[in-house]
Point group: C2
Chain length 148, copies 2
């Protein structure tokens, strides 16, 4: 699953975020038939945004869609989703959430499972390294992003 186009897109987005000096988390929303509906990365630094986490960026880039477009969809994200992004996945009824890693942060995984989502944690080395480096270099920015 590390080779799914959606996951590859999410990792590319995370690296873009890192290159921009932002929070290096990326995501991609993929329809049940494998089309990337939207992709994006955390924009806290780039847009001064409190809500554009990676998953939110991917949902926003997907644009206005009817509920049917999200049926059977997968949200790929490089890091375990926070409570906000978890809630967004629940609202839009995505079927599955594929998470790059949950070692550097674990968000709303229990809620996802309680709400019937499939959850896959890849424990991907590249995702772990990206986040670990970021948290070490910019702990205040990271704390701001997760409201700690």
């Amino acid at each position: 699953m590390d080779q799914d186009p959606g996951f590859i897109a999410a990792v590319e987005e995370a690296k873009k975020g890192a290159a921009e000096g932002g929070v290096p988390i990326g995501a991609a929303l993929v329809s049940k038939d494998g089309k990337i509906l939207g992709r994006g990365h955390n924009m806290r630094v780039q847009k001064g945004s409190a809500i554009l986490h990676a998953e939110m960026s991917a949902l926003e880039q997907s644009g206005r869609l009817p509920a049917s477009a999200y049926e059977g969809a997968t949200m790929y994200t490089t890091l375990s989703p926070c409570d906000m992004c978890t809630g967004a996945c629940v609202l839009y009824k995505v079927k599955r959430v594929v998470v790059g890693e949950n070692q550097n942060f674990q968000g709303g995984e229990e809620l996802l499972l309680n709400r019937g989502k499939e959850l896959v944690v890849l424990d991907n080395a590249e995702c772990k390294e990206l986040m670990a480096t970021f948290i070490k270099e910019k702990p205040e920015l990271w704390n701001e992003d997760i409201a700690v």
Copy 2:
């Protein structure tokens, strides 16, 4: 509490949304010392946005803030928050959520209570009327907004 400046601002925002032909839900985020940090309304129609629900707009308009700014804060909203907006309130650790009404829609109230938030439901007649009229006039738009 119907006369709290934060609630008045939320209702004003909902009316702006209605006047713009959008989803008539408004919100305001108020700090523990009573300052309105941000306010906004649903922007699905106006910006083609899948994530700018009223509460998200208010958080976004508040801008980048440290966790301390949200301590003791209240999110005022004209309608019971959906799962996404509930998750955002949990992420940012607002203390209290004041809801105009939950007759036309009931979102993540159980999660808010489970996560230790104070929840106040005003059962406000003006909020109920705004939403009931909207849902009657534009059921497809409303269904899209809550992914039904």
